[in-house]
């Protein structure tokens, strides 16, 4: 019996040790450094609130808008429809119109709903944007329905969730946050011919893929921007890296180190850690022993929170750089202010009811977001740990609405592919960065800008994040 159980445990340990590895492929990485300016937005037109139908050629095909003074402003046209002939032939005629009818669009998302509880959010909280859109008439008269399948923040469960989504015949599968989940689902999408629009992930392994798209920067870009942040602000200081032990996170580290090397940043220690490792004393001592004055945490929110907390307990107080979530800053409270934490994100900062400083440039989106939540989910906690996540989800859905509007009244999957290979628009709404799907060497990718943030004591008394640099493509 002992031997049987021992063998079982050995298997568990081996699994924990090796993890699921995907074959590494060389990515297309012909970088260009062009930056969009506002007047480069091609056929698309950003519209201000005073002219909700401006820039659109056929108003009769647009969602009906609420009467003036009523409802929200989310139905405002963000971009004009693409009226050119469909070029893509990726989907067969049978596949082409799955999930879209004259009056509905069905979407399904895989997301770490397990952890939604940690952020005090639920799937109903995630659909507020579409509730507002649908109440205002939908997208070209089509009501948008998004359902969610829990991926448990794990690649294998994410593939199961994708399969569950496929049973619902969605127009597109949406991929939530998850460096490890998305590459697994991308492979699945290729064999299942499902249109997949996902969050940030590595570009490795995508050069022969056709069904997956993202409007956000890649894992590599995030690593590169953390590297530029170090080179710009902390050059001359010793830098340490505590990184997730995962092949899907590693490309970000490579990009970081490439920038560090280019600008002469001294990396003195680099320690891989496992997800949910729990104790990070050894890694922190390693950083401390090597005199690291700046430590980049390439880990998720909860693990990063634990690392900073354990570092303070060890009386080790370097400058931490990490993914900025209010969960981390609010949990750490004073520990997040001495010194303030610094982060890089593919989403904008959010602090409830604070429209000052760097929030001012997208305060209209924040107010719209808060008004819609007050109307549709008045019990959702926007002040707490989940507030910034709900805002990033809301902006993500608004970005998706941009794509669907661009796809037009005769939208099909192939037309959507056309959009996500040709759209180029400067900040389609205030909280968004530029979208450019036309960059050479970056097929099916539309995001190249990030927000740099820092913790601050918000007017509510919580320690939250705010942008110090908004929508920047380079810091050097």
């Amino acid at each position: 019996m002992i031997r049987k159980l021992s063998a079982l445990l050995a298997l568990l340990l081996l699994t924990s040790c090796t993890g699921a590895r995907l074959p590494k492929e060389v990515a297309a990485r012909n970088r260009t450094d062009t930056t969009l300016s506002a007047n480069e937005s091609t056929t698309s037109t950003s519209v201000d609130g005073s002219d909700p139908l401006g820039g659109v050629t056929n108003p009769s095909t647009l969602p009906s808008l609420p009467a003036k003074g009523k409802g929200s402003t989310t139905a405002t046209t963000l971009v004009a429809a693409d009226t050119s002939a469909v070029r893509s032939t990726l989907f067969t005629p049978n596949e082409n119109t799955i999930g879209i009818t004259k009056d509905s669009i069905t979407l399904c998302a895989h997301a770490a709903l397990t952890y939604g509880a940690a952020f005090n959010t639920s799937d109903k909280d995630l659909n507020v944007y579409w509730s507002a859109i649908n109440d205002a008439g939908g997208i070209y008269g089509r009501k948008v329905t998004v359902t969610y399948e829990n991926d448990d923040y794990k690649p294998d469960t994410a593939v199961q969730a994708a399969n569950a989504c496929k049973q619902k015949n969605p127009f597109a599968l949406i991929g939530g946050i998850g460096f490890d989940q998305i590459p697994a689902v991308r492979n699945w999408a290729e064999t299942n011919h499902v249109l997949y629009i996902h969050h940030t992930a590595t570009v490795e392994g995508t050069q022969n893929q056709h069904y997956s798209f993202t409007g956000l920067p890649s894992t590599e870009k995030m690593g590169e921007m953390f590297g530029e942040l170090v080179a710009a602000r902390y050059r001359g200081k010793k830098v340490g890296i505590i990184k997730r032990n995962s092949p899907n996170w590693e490309p970000g580290v490579k990009a970081f180190k490439a920038v560090a090397q280019k600008y002469g940043v001294q990396i003195v220690a680099e320690d891989p850690v496992d997800q949910n490792q729990g104790s990070y004393q050894q890694e922190l001592l390693d950083m401390s022993n090597h005199g690291a004055q700046v430590v980049w945490l390439w880990e998720n929110a909860l693990d990063s929170t634990q690392i900073v907390k354990q570092s303070k307990a060890q009386a080790y107080n370097p400058q931490f750089l990490l993914f900025p979530f209010n969960l981390t800053s609010q949990t750490l409270n004073n520990d997040a202010m001495n010194p303030p934490l610094v982060g890089v994100a593919m989403y904008p900062a959010y602090s409830f009811h604070d429209y000052s400083g760097s929030f001012a440039s997208y305060a209209s989106d924040m107010k719209e977001f808060e008004a819609e939540y007050a109307k549709y989910r008045p019990n959702a906690d926007l002040t707490g740990f989940g507030g910034d996540l709900l805002f990033l989800n809301w902006t993500g859905m608004k970005g998706l609405a941009v794509l669907l509007q661009k796809c037009g009244p005769d939208c099909t999957r192939n037309k959507m592919v056309d959009v996500m290979t040709s759209l180029k628009v400067a900040r389609p709404f205030p909280a968004s960065c530029d979208v450019d799907f036309t960059r050479p060497g970056f097929p099916r990718m539309g995001g190249f800008s990030v927000n740099v943030m820092q913790t601050y004591r918000s007017p509510s008394g919580d320690v939250n994040w705010r942008n110090t640099d908004t929508c920047v493509e380079h810091l050097l």
Binding site: M1, I2, S16, T18, A117, Q277, L302, Q310, F385
Partner: protein, 291 residues
């Protein structure tokens, strides 16, 4: 070297606490309980809710948590383990995976009410002492002492008392034990309840060092605790403590030896190799006896 030893002892104390709970259940029922870590975490949430949110003293929250998780252990024994009396022990072990999933879900539901990752102070306040460059908190020191004390105390209970001998007898031959008057059901309930309670105590002592925790936060630590239990022999409580310390030191040593190459997964790999080699040389573990 000094740092590695201190780090190894600190981690080892954590693993030993988990291992002791695992071994107790195994000795009393021949079942490996995969749910123990998560049951302990559930207790941790209750203690945090009582102490942090409602101002109860640490000891009050700890007692409530231990009582609740012991009750979960007893209930699982009463309604699942006992009903699977004749089933293969591996089947019962698989049933504990079901308990793990159930408790995880329960935590998420309860956790949602709290709405945030939690943190809890330890039973003893203070800055701690710096030993070989490592700041060791009073709670971390306490956890080592508690792990050793519980291991030795339970070993004495099982070897030197009629009730303890009844526990061992019931595990080896339930029918024979019942014939000679051992209260088999009570014995079984005792090991499952106490196993859960010990693990909860471990979680309570570990949590301050983690800084923040969420459901599943101790899963990896518990896996290493399982490794420590197998290494120590699965039937030996002192072996569980020794296994915990050995796993902790091997993990810390591997981290230090390979730190310059930043080899991914090297610490887990080192523990796996240690376990494999030990089981090849001593299939019943370092201190175990034939099951």
């Amino acid at each position: 070297m000094g740092q590695v030893l201190v780090l190894g002892l600190l981690s080892g104390g954590i693993y030993a606490l988990f291992a002791v709970g695992v071994v107790l259940v195994y000795r009393g029922s021949r079942v490996l309980n995969f749910a123990q870590g998560e049951v302990g975490t559930a207790g941790l949430f209750l203690a945090t809710w009582l102490t942090v949110d409602h101002g109860l003293p640490w000891i009050g929250g700890a007692i409530a948590a231990i009582v609740m998780t012991a009750a979960i252990g007893v209930a699982f024994e009463r309604f699942v383990v006992r009903r699977m009396g004749d089933a293969p022990r591996v089947s019962v072990a698989v049933a504990t995976v079901g308990l793990l999933l159930f408790v995880s879900t329960l935590e998420l539901i309860v956790f949602k009410l709290g709405g945030k990752p939690r943190s809890i102070d330890g039973p003893i306040a203070g800055a701690g002492a710096k030993i070989a460059g490592v700041v060791v908190s009073p709670t971390q020191m306490l956890s080592l002492v508690v792990a050793l004390g519980i291991g030795v105390g339970l070993a004495v209970l099982l070897r030197r008392t009629d009730f303890g001998l009844g526990v061992l007898a019931a595990a080896q031959d339930t029918a024979a034990a019942r014939l000679v008057g051992v209260p088999v059901n009570r014995v079984s309930a005792f090991v499952w309840g106490t196993g859960a309670a010990v693990t909860t105590l471990g979680c309570l002592l570990i949590a301050p060092g983690l800084g923040a925790f969420a459901p599943g936060a101790v899963s990896r630590l518990f896996l290493f605790g399982l490794a420590a239990a197998v290494l120590g022999g699965l039937t030996s409580l002192p072996g569980a403590f020794a296994g915990g310390v050995i796993v902790g030191i091997v993990e810390a040593s591997a981290g230090r030896i390979f730190e310059s190459v930043a080899l991914p997964g090297v610490k887990t790999l080192a523990v796996f190799v240690l376990l494999l080699v030990t089981l090849l040389v001593r299939p019943d573990g370092l201190f175990g006896s034939k099951a």
